[in-house]
Structures are given as C-alpha cells and as structure tokens.
C-alpha cells in the first residue's frame, strides 16, 4: 500500500467542513469546503486517507483555470455548439480547414495574473504556453498574436503602469523573437479600467497536414509516456490556483514566477514536429497549468485508459523535490509525448539530435486507475475519472437593467482639431513603438504584417496574412476584435461588437472568416453581477457567431481580475482566422492612386455610447453601436466577392473614431489624400464622421471598375468622393467641414514615436 516516507498522508476522512476548509488553505489547494467534502467521501469509499500527492493532484484538476467549473455550463450552452460542421478537430487548440490538405490550428489564452505580478516572465510564458497548445495538435506555429490591456494610472501597492507595459512588451518580444515565430497581430487598449488589472491575451496560429493531426487521447494500453524539453523544477507550483483567485497585492508567492526559456522551446518545436512528420507520435499534449498531473490524467481519461508513472524518472532541476512537487510543477517548455513501444528509440533519438532532454516516465494500462510511484513506493492511486470531473457550478447571476439616458453633444466648431485629436489619441495612434520590436517577418511568409504602405511611412493594417506553404498561393488571415468600452456599458452588445470587428478586419484584407478563438476576461464569478455580465457577454457572442455560422474552436476564461478593489469589465478578446484564396489579391488599407472613387460600405449611426468621440468628451449616453450579424454577413460577403473579382484597391474597416479616423488612417501609408462630401450620409456631421457603425468599411475602388463594384454592393455602398494628392478635405454640400494636410495626419498618428 502507500508508504509514508516519500509522501505525507493527509487525513480528511471524518473531518468537519471547517477542518477541511483549513486543510485546503494550509496546503494552498484553493478548494471550497464543499469540494473538500467530495474528496473526503471519495477516500472514505476507498477505505483510506489520501496522500499529499493525491490531494494536490485533485486540487490542480479542480481549479477554475483547469476545469472551467464556473463557466462550463454557459460555454456549453452558448459557445460550443456553433458551426460544428466547419470544425476539423478540437483539442488544446481548435482546427478549421484551409484547403483539402491543410488545417489551421489556433487558440487564444490569457496570462493576466502572472503578468500582473511579474510582467516580463508572465507575458513571456504566456507566449510559450500558447505555442505549446498549437504544437500539441501536431501543427507548425506560423504566427503569434497579443492583445494587451494596460492601465493608465498608478494604484497604491501595485507597480507603475509604464513599468508593467515595458515588461509585458519585452517579455513577448524576447520570447516570440527568440523562438522565431512572427508576432503579427494584436492590439493595445489603454484605460483606467485596467489599473491595476493589466490583461495579457496571447494567441497562436499554426498549420498542419490533415493527415498528421494528433489528438491527446491515449486509447491503447502499453503506450509509453515520454516527457521532453525543459527540466522540472519548483518554479510555477500552484500557478493555476493563483489564476483562480483574486490577487491581494503586487507582490506574490515567489514559486509561481517563471521567465520561460525560448531557446529550450525553439528546438523542441522542431523536434516534436519532426517526430510527428515521421508518424512516430501516438498522441501528445503540452504541460501547462497543473503540470504532469493534469496532462497525464487528461490524456488517459480521454482515451478511457489507466496508467502508471515513475516520478523518479522525470528529469529535475533540483534533486530535492518532493513527489507532489514533481507531479504538479508547472515548469515551462515541456511536452508529454505518447509513443508506441516500437517507436520509443526513434523518438528519443530525434530529441537527442536536437539536443533536447527527454525521458520515459511511464505507460498506459487497461482499466481506469492512475498509479504513481516514486522510487518504488506508490504515492497515488486514483480513478482518473474522479480527478478530471470536478463539480460544475451554475453560479447565481444578476443581470442589471440599465436606464438609457440620451446625451446630445453641442455641435463642434472645429472639426479639423477634433479629428487630429482623435488620430493622436492613445487608443488610435501608431503602435510602432511596440510592433516594431516584434519580428513580424521571420519565417519569410508574412504577406501582410501589422503595418503596410510606403516604406518608411507605413500605416496600420486590419489583419495579417501569412502564406504557410511556399508552393501554394493561399494564405491564412489573422485578426482580432475587442471593445471593453462597449462591454462595460453593455456586455451583450460588447460581445457582438467583438465578433463584428474580428469579421470586419478579416474581410478588409480579402479573407473569408473561418473560425474564432476567444479569451473571456472577467471579475470574480462568485459575485452575482459579474456572473450576469458573463452570461450576457456569451449570449452576445453566440447570437453573432450563430447567425454567421462560424465556430468558436478554442479559447480560455480568466476570472478574478479584481486586484486593488477594482475590477475590469467583462468582455471578450476574439481571435479570428480566415482564408485568402490567392494572396496576390490580398488588400491593405493604404490608398493606392489618386482620382479613385471612395465608398462607405455601411451606414453611420446615432448610437454613440462608448465611442471614442464620447470618451474624449468624457460623456456617456445612449446605446452602444448595434451590430446586426445578418447585415454583417450580407454586406461583408458581398464585399468579399467584390474584392475577389478585383474591383477593390484598398479597404479599411470603420472602428475607433469612426469614418473620419478610418479615412485618415488610409492616407498614412500613402502619399494620397481624399476629397469627400458627406451629405449623402444624412445625420449631424459629427455623428456622420465620428460614430462607430458596426459592419462598415471604407473602400477605394479600382479605376474603371466602379460599376462592377456598385453592382456587387447594391445599396450598401454610399459614394463619398475621390482620392486626391496630399490633403484630406471634407465638405457637406457647399459647406467646408475640414481640410488637413496628410503629412499633418501622419505626424499626429505617429505621436510619441520617433
């Protein structure tokens, strides 16, 4: 039976709720008294008390981070079922189809809590972790993405936001650049709402030959388990428990801090892909939250197997580690490979060739029990099913009815000044200080990166496009959508707006949207209001994605972003991927030639709540812009067809700051301005120019193709004017609204850079 020398027996049988809660606290398990009671009665049935290895393992598996216990019911109801016929496979990352042979694997994940404590390491290991998720599917990573939310004011007891921003960006830069995967897309939002709760949402996209897709399920006995990559250390113990609780202050438990080692990961990617290419891997999974404990349990459970593991065979950083520490350590850069006996030597040989540490640690067995040994002593003996199925919660939720109060700003008297202010706004102006620190051309496949236009004066793009195969002409488009400002006012509409923006961005480059991944950021789910916001958000995401028939194939939930008694709004970051049939037809926003027609595809709105215009006026009022997925689908796919037929020169979707900033951004990467008359838009001029209508684009039409374009778009295209040399001039019939030089626009947009 269980021997005591190597592991401690934790006495739980017959203990009161209070005593159980204390045990949870003392051992940093993060479990409720109720959950501890479940453990207690399980072991009562087994006729013995558990070891420390066992309770620690269960605590890992049952953490919010690993089990999604507060969100799963809602995700199942609203998110998981959509567009199923378009999903190629699901796992650590989700897959959609690029062409007959190739699938796209992608996923987004948050690394909010670690980054709040140690921005550099937190962000770096976030990138490391998301890369492993893609690798777990057998896919070659082709792009990294990062969506960042920074605070704007210092909160006592927490680091300065500037320090956090510097650390986060450096962490992503140093990790992404060193592993050699281009960081090509993302976003940055600055708002007081994120002081001190900085959010770091990272994504990764990969491609895989459909015949080489691997699952993580071990479905046969006698499959050998190999741990490969970094060694196992004390770093990162209890990370998942931390991500499942509110941070009390800026300084936290040191054992959870990790910096990551990209040069361990870089060859590991090659080696794992080589082994997969040679069909040597039966299954694989990355070691993330919960370490070996979660991964071994989940792989066996998924295939209906039991198994055994010998902990002394795990390569360690520190010899003195206790068995429970080895079992739950979250050390970075590790993969678990499940390999048929006859292939073990070949796999170990490939690891050796790439100078990577690897070791056989156990194997699968018939039955449903997982047994762990340490130097001959059994330290864990559990049904894997018990570990991997925690109690799910349908936490009470409260949906607040908000009264809509209208607000009508006084009519602006200087439109030029207003526009230039918006262009240089922190949330609009160039992100070059960040994106130019990220290598976005490595791998030599970046067709459209974060910046495009004349060399030396590039402007922003909407989505990036990667050509994954040099022998084909198709490409993968990658973009994001997120609007915490809308979400804060109305989580339902914010959820829809995020989907709308993601789709808009993909269509802007000429890509057909294929699938979404999401990072759901929120506060403490035990609060009824927070849970209410959460439910509203996923409903909004559902309603849009369902109408569009586009699946969410992966994602992650981050609750408890409530440090410093301040909480973030509940909102999603969405990562979208799309397909560009022929990269030679991909489209960028920079205006291409003078004297071309410019159209608005869409309609301005009178809903201005949460818009940049109102935010700059420090006003709130009315509703947030309304996104109708059917309109999006109709207009968007018509525009896509117009693009594919070659009628479009340039396109940019309308987002922060409305039509006026959108057009301004199109001048940045070119030497070309525009002369526009906005009378056709109706509405007050400020609403026409600065409202943020959903499902809308500004399009420069190719000369000679105007009629065709209009035929594709029908009434959805409103003629605004033409491109011209050097200045942006806007009139309303006879009235001059503004004239600004495009050099001045570029200067404002570049504010703070160079």
């Amino acid at each position: 039976m269980i021997e005591e020398e190597v592991s401690t027996i934790i006495s739980v049988i017959g203990k009161s709720k209070e005593e159980l809660a204390n045990i949870s606290k003392k051992l940093h398990l993060g479990l409720s008294a109720e959950e501890m009671s479940l453990i207690s009665s399980y072991f009562k049935n087994e006729g013995r008390d558990p070891t420390d290895v066992e309770v620690q393992a269960i605590a890992q598996a049952w953490s919010e981070h690993c089990s999604y216990k507060s969100s799963k019911i809602h995700l199942k109801k609203y998110i998981f079922g959509i567009g199923r016929e378009k999903v190629v496979a699901l796992g650590d990352a989700g897959l959609v189809s690029l062409d007959d042979d190739t699938a796209i694997a992608f996923k987004m994940e948050s690394h909010n809590h670690p980054s709040a404590i140690e921005p550099y390491g937190g962000a770096a290991t976030g990138v490391g972790g998301i890369l492993r998720d893609i690798l777990s599917m057998g896919a070659q990573p082709i792009a990294v993405t990062d969506f960042l939310y920074f605070g704007t004011k210092k909160v006592k007891g927490f680091p300065d936001p500037k320090f956090i921003e510097g650390g986060v960006v450096a962490g992503i830069r140093d990790y992404g650049n060193r592993v050699g995967i281009p960081t090509v897309s993302g976003g940055i939002v600055y708002s007081e709402m994120f002081s001190p709760n900085v959010l770091v949402n990272v994504g990764c996209v990969g491609v895989v030959d459909k015949k080489k897709i691997r699952s993580s399920a071990i479905t046969e006995p006698g499959i050998v388990l190999i741990v490969a990559g970094g060694k196992t250390g004390r770093d990162g113990i209890h990370g998942v428990n931390m991500a499942s609780a509110v941070i009390e202050s800026g300084e936290e438990d040191i054992t959870t801090v990790q910096l990551g080692s990209p040069i361990t990961k870089e060859p590991l990617i090659h080696a794992v892909l080589e082994a997969n290419e040679k069909n040597l891997l039966f299954a694989l999974k990355d070691l993330g939250g919960g370490g070996l404990s979660s991964v071994v349990g989940e792989m066996l459970e998924a295939g209906g197997m039991g198994g055994k593991v010998y902990l002394e065979k795990v390569p360690l950083k520190e010899a003195s580690m206790k068995p429970w520490e080895i079992w739950i350590s979250e050390s970075q850069e590790r993969m678990l490979l499940a390999v048929k006996k006859e292939n073990v030597n070949s796999v170990l040989g490939i690891m050796e060739d790439w100078d990577i540490t690897s070791s056989v640690i156990g194997e699968s067995e018939n039955g449903n029990r997982l047994r762990i040994f340490y130097n001959g002593a059994k330290v864990l003996d559990l049904e894997s099913q018990f570990m991997t199925s925690p109690k799910l919660y349908e936490r009470p939720s409260l949906i607040e009815e908000k009264r809509i109060v209208q607000y009508l700003p006084s009519f602006p008297n200087n439109f030029a000044k207003l526009l230039l202010g918006m262009i240089s706004d922190r949330n609009v102006r160039t992100r070059e200080q960040v994106v130019r620190q990220y290598d976005h051309t490595v791998r030599g496949s970046t067709v459209i990166g974060p910046l495009a236009g004349i060399v030396g004066s590039e402007g922003p793009t909407d989505a990036s496009v990667i050509r994954p195969n040099w022998n084909k002409v198709n490409g993968v488009a990658i973009s994001h959508g997120s609007n915490p400002f809308y979400s804060k006012i109305d989580p339902y509409s914010g959820g829809k707006a995020a989907v709308d923006e993601t789709v808009r961005n993909l269509i802007s480059v000429g890509a057909e949207p294929l699938g979404f991944s999401d990072c759901l950021n929120s506060g403490n789910p035990e609060k009824h209001k927070v849970m209410g916001e959460f439910v509203e958000m996923v409903k909004g995401m559902h309603d849009s994605a369902y109408s569009l028939d586009i699946p969410f194939v992966s994602g992650n939930v981050s609750f408890y972003n409530e440090a410093g008694r301040r909480r973030i709004p509940t909102f999603p970051t969405i990562l979208g991927v799309g397909k560009v049939e022929d990269i030679r037809g991909a489209i960028t926003p920079d205006f291409k030639d003078p004297a071309n027609d410019i159209y608005l595809v869409g309609l301005p709105t009178t809903d201005l709540a949460g818009s940049l215009y109102f935010r700059r006026l420090k006003k709130d009022g009315g509703r947030v812009p309304y996104s109708d997925p059917r309109t999006l689908k109709g207009r968007g796919w018509n525009l896509l067809n117009a693009m594919r037929s070659g009628t479009v020169n340039s396109a940019h979707d309308v987002s922060d700051g409305g039509i006026a900033t959108t057009i301004s951004e199109m001048t940045v990467g070119s030497e070309i301005g525009a002369a526009l008359d906005v009378s056709a838009l109706g509405l007050r001029t400020d609403f026409a120019l600065f409202s943020e209508p959903q499902s809308s684009w500004i399009v420069e039409v190719r000369s000679g193709r105007e009629k065709e374009f209009v035929k594709y778009m029908g009434e959805d295209a409103i003629f605004l004017g033409q491109t011209q040399q050097s200045a942006l001039a806007i009139t309303r019939g006879e009235d001059k609204i503004l004239t600004v030089d495009i050099d001045q626009i570029r200067k404002k947009w570049k504010r703070g850079y160079e």
Binding site: V179, I263, V435, I454, V455, W470, N471, I583
Partner: protein, 269 residues
C-alpha cells in the same frame, strides 16, 4: 510559384543551426526554390564529425538567436565553431565556395573573423554592437548595392537601390579602427549600405542601427563570403515585401541573392 525543375548538377547547401537559430526554414525554402539542395544541419553533427562541411557547395548561417544571443549575438555559435571546426570552415572559405550569413549569421561570421578579414589573419576586426536606438528594430530598409566582387550580387546592377526587411537588436557594425574601415572601403567590401528612399545616405531610421559608414553588409576580399544584417531569405517572393500591394510586378528582391550563388557554383565548380 511552382517548385523549379532541377537543372544540371546538384548544388548542396549546408544550413547550420543550433538552439535559437530560427531563420533556417526561410533559408531552406529560398535555396530550394533556387533549385539547390539544402539540408539543415545541427552544429552538434559537425562537432561530432557525423557531417563534414567539405561535402557541401554552399554554407549558410541563417538568422535567429543562436544560444539566445545571451552573451553577444552569434558569440556562442562562433566560439563553438572556433573550438571544433575552424580548420574546416577556413578550408571551405579558401576553396572559394559561397558562404552567406544574414542577421545572426552575419554576427557569427564577424565573430569568426571571416568578414571583413581585411588583413587576412583572422583577428577580429569588427563587431555588431547593440542598435543605437537600444531596441529591437523590425522594418523594411532601403539598401544600395555596391557590387564589388561579391558573387552573391551578380544579378544586381551597380548602385541599384533595393528594399529588404531587417529585424535585429544588435546590428551596429563597428570596425576595430579607422584603418580597417579604410581598407574595407578601398577594397569595395562594403557591398550593401543603408540609404533613404532616394538612394542617399541618411540617419535613423534609414540606418536602423547606427552602423559605421551605413554598412549593412560586407563581403570578404575574395567576394565569396557575404554577411549582412537584412534578410534576403524573407523576400524570396514579391508577396512578402512589405509594400508589394503598391507595386505588384517583379520578382522578390531576395531571390537574386540565392540564384546568384547557386548559378556561381554551377559555373565554377
């Protein structure tokens, strides 16, 4: 865009990697699409004598962050080569066959003393220091081609201005002394220089790292070794140049570096 047909003689390319080298994929594809036969070789295999450089026609040091660039970009890679296979490397260079290093590969060649090597004694004559901006710089730069006798630049016109991407944090080319710089210029070894859009020498960001004399790339005297900070292997096709949507016709700028070298081998060896 189809893979090319193999003509005449097989041209074997050794692409040398270690942990952290990460531009080998685009280097591999660029050579492959130039009708050569590239092979990615881990430095360990050369150290262990499981592979020998003499079996190859071209040696390529790709970019990346070998050993994480932790000590100094390219330093660990160079130190390992020096301690175990410098003789082989020198013989390869002396044989006149092409050697190219871009970015981290350039840093490695400089640390090996293979470029500029104006005195021919292998003493270190140059270094690539941290960028003057003190940050990683990813951007497209304009470059002027001063062909000299570089075998990699045979397909360019003298004085031609081209565009290539850069992505590095240690690219500031510095020579040991004025004398070395003087000899580089006199021997026309500074074959690639940073310029602005009109082809004139200019400061940051046109010269993205503060290199002496705007030097972006340098050849050895003999012209068979080329080290450069920009990345020709990333723009083998037009469609990965950053401004291709404004200027759709033509072939990728990087293409010509590779075809030059592969053709050279076919003609001379």
């Amino acid at each position: 865009m189809e893979e090319g047909i193999r003509v005449n003689r097989e041209v074997k390319v050794a692409i040398i990697v270690m942990e952290g080298t990460n531009n080998e994929e685009e280097a591999y594809q660029s050579f492959k699409h130039s009708e050569a036969t590239p092979e990615i070789i881990h430095l360990k295999k050369l150290e262990d004598r499981k592979k020998k450089l003499s079996g190859y026609d071209i040696v390529c040091f790709p970019g990346g962050f070998s050993a994480g660039d932790y000590v100094r970009a390219g330093a660990v890679m160079a130190a390992r080569i020096k301690s175990s296979l410098m003789r082989d490397m020198e013989e390869f260079v002396e044989s006149g066959r092409p050697v190219i290093g871009s970015c981290n590969g350039f840093q490695t060649l400089v640390e090996l003393g293979l470029v500029p090597n104006v005195d021919g004694d292998g003493r270190l004559e140059a270094a690539l220091a941290p960028n003057m901006s003190n940050r990683f710089e990813a951007r497209t730069v304009y470059l002027k081609i001063n062909r000299g006798n570089s075998l990699f630049l045979r397909e360019f016109k003298e004085g031609e201005v081209i565009k290539l991407p850069i992505a590095h944090s240690e690219g500031r080319f510095i020579t040991r002394d004025k004398e070395v710089l003087g000899k580089i210029i006199k021997n026309r070894m500074n074959v690639v220089s940073y310029v602005d859009g009109s082809g004139k020498e200019a400061g940051y960001p046109w010269n993205p790292n503060g290199s002496e004399h705007n030097i972006a790339g340098i050849a050895n005297k003999n012209g068979n070794v080329l080290g450069l900070m920009p990345h020709p292997e990333r723009v083998f096709y037009k469609y990965t140049e950053s401004d291709w949507t404004r200027e759709i016709n033509g072939t990728g700028m990087g293409n010509r570096f590779f075809t030059s070298a592969v053709q050279f081998v076919r003609e001379k060896f």
